[in-house]
Amino acid sequence: MQFRIPTVLLVCLCATGAVRAAGTPATTEIRNSAVVTYLDPGGTPQTALSNETSLLVDEILGVTIVSNDAAYVAVTSPDDDVPLRFTITNVGNGTESFALTADPAPGGDDYDPTDTRIYLDLNGNGVFEPGTDPLHVAGVNDPTLAADASRVIFLSNDTPAALAAGNVGLVRLDVAAVTGSGAPGTSFALQGDGGTDAVVGATTASGAAQGGYVVSDIVTGLIKSQVVADQYGGSNPLPGATITYTLTLSVTGTGSIDNTLIADAVPAGTTYAAGSLRLDGSPLTDIADLDAGRFTGAGIEVDLGTVSAPASRTIVFQVFIN
């Protein structure tokens, strides 16, 4: 079984000093001058300075794109608005905007996904939130990235009905620097940051990656959310405040999943609220007994056994902030 669990992507910008992975920032001025010392016939030391030369660092255009999905994403037939995840990275040395084009019919697969839409993960939380994440409109909100910055792109598609389990649908996402792309060394005079030239680097300032869906009989998803309530009627995460966690398991398609165990650890810095565990609104005891749930000391566990599609199960528990 495959879980469509939202993950938070951590992007590490490991830049120390003025030089980053893509090189000296565009518009940097490199100054050089030399000094000569000598003795005159009287033995007196003398000094002379040369003129100063100046070099302007041009902008390199560079981009990479990777698919973040380790395997084909499971979908039912039909299915709606299921995202594929990609990350684009500006590997140049200046700020640049990037054009995105999706192709749901790249060939080499069993079906063409439909209703293809690109969403930009502008709030950077790695969670597919269509609406909060803006819909990409070509030429209007092409993502702009500083040197070394990355952006997660969601590619949402529908899957048509009447497909067989195992059918694969591929979608390709192309990215290209808006200033220009092409053979490395191609120069776009004065179109770089600060009036420098923009020069295409080794990546050709363009790239493509592919993601895909596989029609599965059964698809499961687990989503977690939290609500904070403090002792004073507000929602500030103060010591003593209560966090209510809600875990929602969804099982769609046809068939069932066995040995379904939902587990969640009590986060560091909090204490489990005894007796707060609920399944679909009904309380579960904290001790290991005949009901589905228990508190292990480190977290909660709920054993749902076999769950047949379609199904939705909601688990709730609370902690206090220490």
């Binding site: 050089n32 001058s33 030399a34 000569v36 040369s50 070099l55």
Partner: protein, 166 residues
Amino acid sequence: MTQGKTVLVTCAVLVAAILAAAPPALAADTMKLTNEVFQEIDAEGPRGEPIRKIVPATKVVPGSEVIYVITYRNAGTDPAESVVITNPLAAELSYRNESANGEGAVIDLSVDGGRTWGPLGSLTVKDTEGRTRPAQASDITNIRWTLEGAVPPGGEGQVSFRAVLR
């Protein structure tokens, strides 16, 4: 391309120290010093064959190599003795190993802003944890040419080196 070593003396401080140490000049501006920077580009020869051409450099992309040429000239009426030319390297430039040239000059390198000098093989740097390691060409902060003879009135010459933009 990060450098894990301690911060070095800057060019401005070094120049100020030299100027502060020099008493008022009797024969001012005898030696003239000119600094130019070039890069090699691909071009076509007279028969359309691919050649390399050296042109003045004004704009460069990271990763490209530039050539610095320093021309010295004795514009005075007296010989200049013990002539030493030094070039502090901008932090964004990485010295190209063994590229320093100068006829009749002894060439030394520094990794500590010009406090100590020697051939690359004799120099060491400290990393961020304070451990010592052999210096690499990319650690060089200053280049020095010590001319072996006096420069006579009207005499001139050139020294040069190459560096890669980080």
